[in-house]
């Protein structure tokens, strides 16, 4: 058994509208894959196709080596957790957990055993006799996860499971899902629009846009080497500074349209660099300031336009040689509008994209 999930040439169209096209994806055994993208990118649609909740137009879906393209959702060997929890309101927690197993005509003792195990793992034993309406959001989502858990399947599908929770609970449950993955070691596909969830949970992230996967890679690679301008802008908070400018391939000289220019020394080009209009990306957190600016290959002076103190750090909007740049400073440093602050950064950590194709150079 090579891949846990394999998707070949998947196409999904509603009438004349094509939602997913020529989509290929392989997910390894026990891998935690996050489908990340903004709303409408097709990530949930793809998940629904994998689950069998949407009939695809063309292509094949294999789960655990079986072609399940036209199989019923319940027979694909998947468990699924939904954003709105989707608990059956008229059943108790126990009833919710047992519903799928009863449908599969599983013997009662086995059902009881599985519910016991799942509720132990998720610590929901005291809730078993309650109805969903009597549970808090976090408890509900635990039950929803439990419902996937009792199915004892190889593949878990999560459809934005934490989006309806408040920030604190979200963080807690995120950790719990990660722990669950480590315990169970099964394949998980997790759909989210939250990059923090994606970065923290994923073995690999698939960034989607317009029904296509832009980049499929481990979080670090996505962060460090985004394949295109979209991915670069999507990942990272605050967002990457993207500057319009010219690249002179001969001496690796970048000149911003606004006036800032420097040599991109140490940057690893994907191919041979060519001269022409480019986008240049610089992550705010890669810009050093104040006394830390000193050691950086490129140093400039920034004129502060606006300050956003966050406590642990401070976000600064500033102009460097006429080019607007955002960066972060230590929260302890005092900075005010109109101040001049020395900054520095390392060109090796930049991202360069072709102006027209927006693909990484």
């Amino acid at each position: 058994m090579t891949h846990s999930i394999e998707i070949k040439e998947l196409k999904l169209a509603f009438g004349a509208v094509t939602v997913l096209e020529d989509l290929n994806l392989q997910v390894g055994q026990g891998e935690f894959l996050v489908l990340l993208g903004s709303s409408g990118c097709g990530k949930s649609t793809l998940l629904n196709c994998i689950a069998g909740l949407l009939d695809i137009t063309d292509g094949e879906i294999h789960i655990q080596g079986h072609n399940v393209t036209w199989e019923e959702p319940s027979k694909r060997g998947i468990g699924m957790v939904f954003q709105s929890y989707a608990l059956y309101p008229q059943m108790t927690v126990e009833g919710n957990l047992a519903f799928g197993l009863k449908n599969a005509r599983m013997p009662r003792p086995e059902i009881a055993k599985r519910i016991k195990r799942a509720s132990e793992i998720l610590q929901i034993e005291p809730l078993l006799k309650r109805k969903p309406a009597a549970l808090s959001g976090g408890q509900r989502q635990r039950v929803a996860i439990g419902r996937a858990l009792v199915r004892d399947v190889d593949v878990f599908l999560f459809d934005e499971p934490l989006s309806n929770l408040d920030a604190k609970l979200r963080a807690d449950l995120r950790v719990e899902i990660k722990r669950l993955h480590q315990t169970l070691q099964n394949t998980m596909i997790y759909v989210t629009h939250d990059q923090v969830e994606a970065m923290t949970l994923a073995d690999r992230i698939a960034i989607m846009k317009g029904g296509q996967i832009m980049q499929l890679a481990p979080p670090a690679e996505i962060y460090n080497r985004p394949v295109n301008k979209y991915v670069a802008g999507f990942i990272g908070s605050p967002a990457m500074n993207v500057m319009e400018g010219q690249l002179d391939a001969g001496n690796s000289e970048f000149a911003s349209a606004r006036g800032l220019s420097f040599t991109v020394k140490g940057y690893e080009f994907d191919g041979a660099p060519t001269s022409g209009p480019v986008w240049l990306g610089l992550r705010p957190e890669h810009v050093q300031s104040g006394k830390w600016a000193a050691g950086q290959p490129i140093q400039r002076e920034a004129l502060v336009d606006m300050v956003e103190p966050m406590g642990s750090d401070t976000q600064v909007w500033a102009r460097v040689d006429g080019q607007e740049i955002r960066f972060r400073m230590d929260g302890q440093e005092k900075v005010d509008i109109g101040d001049r602050v020395p900054i520095g950064f390392d060109p090796a950590r930049l991202s360069l994209f072709d102006k027209s194709t927006e693909i990484r150079l």
């Binding site: 009939d55 079986h66 072609n67 399940v68 393209t69 036209w70 199989e71 027979k75 694909r76 060997g77 998947i78 197993l101 599969a104 599983m106 199915r151 004892d152 399947v153 190889d154």
Partner: protein, 303 residues
């Protein structure tokens, strides 16, 4: 459990027809009723409206003869006029009154349940019952007229059911009595679905309540109004029982309505062809009102 049936997993897409087979089976009644009764029945009626069928349907085509006669029949013209007047007035009043009552109930009043029950209970009664009660109340010898007269206004006249010029008012009083409650409930539901914050916002902005209703609330309730409109209109077209119970079309033919003309020609006059022609005209009228609306709905959905 997932592993149990792996061997039989279908690889090929199922035949189109059998996909969602259960839902298609469950949809059979809808298809039969929609196509068999509504479309089939309508086509049948339209086709036979071009025949000279009398007591029994027969396919002896006579072109537009039935329609020519229809439009030269006074009773039909009066019926159409009555329906138009009744329809427009009843529509306006039902909507306004329904909204007004709903708005009053929505002002966080006491005894809301009691008032709502009072306004809605006539809806539970049939048009036959409604017609009989109001016929009794509007009876000039015993009802409102005689009561007011005996209170010292001997010249008071209110006998709409015996006065050709006022008979539609009599029908309207009874029709509104029966029908506004439902519209009120629907409007009330619509009002309740509007975010409290809207009210707070308009209070802060200093917009008077009546203006808030007109400028903010009513536009927000568009879908509710559409639902109410559809309900009321379809009810008006079917207006029949009430007329039969209250006036039988009288005095004279002054409260005749198209539905009654159709019924009478079909069955009493034993002139099926003429009755079918009249019912076809009713359908055409409905279609003229409905098609633009359906088109608008459709376009909105597209966007």
């Amino acid at each position: 459990m997932s592993r149990a049936r792996r061997g039989t997993a279908p690889v090929r897409p199922p035949i189109r027809l059998f996909r969602n087979l259960s839902s298609k089976i469950a949809a059979i009644p809808m298809v039969l009723v929609g196509l068999g009764v509504f479309v089939g029945g309508t086509i049948w009626t339209v086709v036979y409206s071009f025949t000279d069928s009398r007591l029994l349907p027969r396919l002896q085509f006579v072109g537009f003869e039935q329609y020519e006669r229809l439009w030269s029949t006074r009773r039909w013209l009066v019926s159409i006029e009555n329906l138009a007047i009744y329809g427009i007035v009843s529509l306006v009043f039902t909507m306004c009154l329904g909204f007004l009552l709903a708005a009053l109930l929505d002002r966080k009043i006491r005894f809301e349940d009691t008032f709502r029950t009072i306004f809605l209970y006539p809806f539970a009664l049939s048009f036959i019952v409604t017609g009989l009660v109001w016929q009794w109340l509007l009876n000039p010898d015993f009802g409102i007229q005689s009561v007011v007269r005996s209170m010292g206004f001997p010249n008071f006249n209110f006998d709409p059911l015996y006065n050709s010029d006022l008979v539609l008012i009599g029908l309207l009083i009874a029709g509104l009595w029966q029908g506004t409650g439902l519209i009120m409930v629907i409007m009330l539901a619509g009002l309740r679905s509007i975010d409290e914050d809207i009210w707070k916002a308009t209070r802060v902005d200093g917009i008077p309540i009546w203006k808030t209703y007109i400028i903010v609330i009513i536009p927000m309730m568009k879908p509710v109004f559409v639902t109410a409109l559809v309900l009321v209109t379809s009810g008006i077209v079917k207006l029949y029982d009430l007329v039969v119970a209250m006036t039988s079309g009288g005095p004279g033919i002054s409260s005749e309505v198209p539905a009654k003309y159709v019924y009478d020609t079909l069955f009493t006059r034993q002139n099926l062809g003429q009755g079918f022609a009249a019912s076809t005209m009713m359908l055409v009228t409905v279609a003229i009102i409905l098609i633009p609306w359906a088109y608008m709905q459709f376009r909105e959905k597209r966007q």
